[in-house]
């Protein structure tokens, strides 16, 4: 199973799936996420993971299907979410069931209800939930708590889980994370930034994403509309003028009703839409970049760098999927110094910890000539890159590395160079201020000596103070 390949990765993946769902649920409820993770080793090799949140809670009727049925989800929409299909939690529950024969335990409470407690198994053959228990249960307030027992290696996953939660607070600065292992509190961090990200809205599809399947579905909903109206109503970036120009170019009658189009017409329309050039930037409202202030604040809070700088590119699109890349370059984050900066990867606010070598972000980082930007083997530079998109092109179902696509490559490379340029300025400024400080020290010492020796010459007991002179000489930025 993807992401559950070995016992240490299984613990990490379970935590990750549950935490992602929790934060998504809290954002849905427009609350500052407060997520608590506890991991307990029941006996060697058997681990119990519990994640609790203050989110919307799951409506009771939905609980069995949401947690114990594969491919049951409401996330198939064109907007940015952490999870893709709401599939991961079921996978984690399934892995737990297979390895320990234990049910997934869910305690949930929506607003205006008291809580409810479930024990669920998955009937694998029929893909149906099996409800072992379903009873009312008091909870502190709305939210969900999920417990999964699984075969896992706690010692080897410990650090990954810690890093994952720490970096989650970087990518979701409005969230708070707690981790307890075997009953003792390991970390509490987050709430670096008080402002909740603006809610994302589902966008209409982009014309470049109009594959035949999508087109057929849209046409079926459009009834007897004219082709022109259909295009304007169904797609983003298709105004009246663009639609007219597009249909003129295709030499199709814009008043033709869409339900009279043949398969061949649709196929022609689809490939024309996908290659049509005259479109503006895609709609960015479906995306939720971390944003300059929040990103800088969270990195400052977690890593305490000496200097940092932010940049972003987009929105643009790949195959009709809108995306934005944003990044921060930081100096002195505690990472070791190297010729190539240390990279932290994020996709839709989720930190990526495995398979970095395969990742497009890593590849682009290595392609940049950092020496050109003043990064030497002695400069500890870290780069944080966040790709957000309505669809992240993951290489494999484990969702750990991003595939190489020319559109994304181009934007990432441009962003890295932009960060490099401002990094260069920052590094120069740093060198200059070190030099200035040294000059000031030397000057301060010399002036004090002059004052002392001249006081001896003048035979006066009080050595005059030079502090004001020094201050005046160094308060202006430029000097000899």
């Amino acid at each position: 199973m993807a992401g559950f390949g070995n016992p240490s990765q299984a613990v990490y993946s379970t935590v990750r799936e549950l935490v992602e769902n929790s934060i998504d649920a809290c954002e849905e409820a427009r609350r500052q996420p407060d997520v608590r993770v506890s991991i307990d080793e029941e006996r060697s090799g058997i681990v119990r993971v519990t994640v609790s949140d203050n989110g919307t809670g799951v409506p009771y009727g939905e609980v069995p299907n949401a947690f114990a049925r594969v491919l049951y989800g409401d996330k198939f929409t064109a907007r940015q979410r952490r999870g893709t299909f709401g599939l991961g939690v079921t996978m984690a529950a399934l892995y737990g069931q297979i390895t320990t024969d234990s049910p997934v335990i869910v305690v949930t409470q929506t607003s205006h209800t008291t809580g409810r407690y479930y024990q669920l198994l998955i009937d694998i053959e029929n893909n149906q939930p099996v409800i072992l228990s379903d009873e009312s249960h008091e909870r502190e307030g709305p939210g969900t708590e999920v417990t999964i027992r699984l075969k896992g290696d706690l010692n080897r996953s410990r650090e990954r889980v810690y890093d994952y939660l720490k970096l989650t607070t970087v990518a979701s600065p409005h969230a708070h994370m707690e981790l307890a292992i075997n009953g003792s509190s390991i970390m509490r961090m987050g709430w670096w930034h008080q402002i909740l990200p603006a809610p994302t809205t589902t966008s209409k599809p982009h014309p470049h994403g109009a594959d035949l399947e999508l087109l057929r579905r849209l046409v079926a909903d459009a009834g007897e509309r004219s082709l022109h109206d259909f295009l304007v109503e169904s797609f983003q970036r298709m105004g009246t003028r663009t639609a007219t120009r597009f249909l003129k170019f295709l030499a199709i009658n814009p008043r033709q009703a869409v339900n009279t189009l043949s398969r061949g017409d649709l196929s022609r329309l689809s490939s024309a839409l996908r290659s049509f050039d005259g479109l503006g930037r895609p709609d960015g409202k479906c995306l939720s970049p971390i944003g300059k202030d929040a990103f800088l604040t969270s990195i400052e809070s977690v890593f305490a760098p000496s200097a940092l700088t932010y940049g972003s590119r987009g929105p643009t699109e790949w195959s009709g999927n809108a995306f934005i890349v944003e990044g921060v370059a930081a100096i002195d984050t505690g990472a070791r110094a190297a010729e190539v900066p240390t990279l932290y990867r994020f996709a839709n606010r989720v930190p990526l910890l495995y398979d970095s070598g395969e990742d497009i972000l890593t590849k682009m980082l290595k392609r940049v000539n950092w020496v050109q930007y003043g990064v030497r083997s002695t400069t500890p530079v870290s780069i944080f890159l966040h790709l957000c998109s309505t669809r992240i092109p993951f290489k494999a179902a484990g969702k750990q590395s991003i595939a190489s696509l020319p559109e994304i490559e181009h934007e990432v490379l441009s962003l890295l160079r932009e960060l490099g340029r401002s990094l260069k300025k920052t590094l120069k400024r740093g060198e200059r201020s070190v030099r200035d400080a040294q000059k000031k020290r030397e000057f301060d010492k010399a002036m004090k000596q002059v004052a002392q020796f001249s006081a001896e010459l003048a035979e006066c007991d009080v050595v005059p103070s030079t502090a004001e002179l020094i201050r005046r000489l160094f308060e202006v930025d430029h000097h000899v």
Partner: protein, 124 residues
Amino acid sequence: MSDQSKSLDVLKDIGTAIVQSIDNEEFPTLKFPGRGTENLVYDEKSKRFVLGNTRVTRDSSNLRHIKSFTQLIWVASYAKQLLQAGRTSSLRDLYYSSEAFGVEFTDQAESDRTVNSTPKASLE
């Protein structure tokens, strides 16, 4: 008035002027004899080359001047101590003494030059 007390007066005047300008929050300045070859004059009486009368200004607000400025003031105060004690010192001795006062000379040649400049340094 003996040469010795005249010298002590000159040194005191220099010190007082510098203390005053620091008290007034002004950067003190001094005039040094120029060090260029054009300022070398043959002195018939002593039958040797001495520094001429061309002066350069050393401004203590200038980062490039501050080092020689400090060195000169120190040599002056060292000279004063010698005068008061009625002792003399060798150039070598002076060079090594500077370290005890935290005054840096790159080499003895530099301290020798400073010693030669001192009698001709002035406030104007």
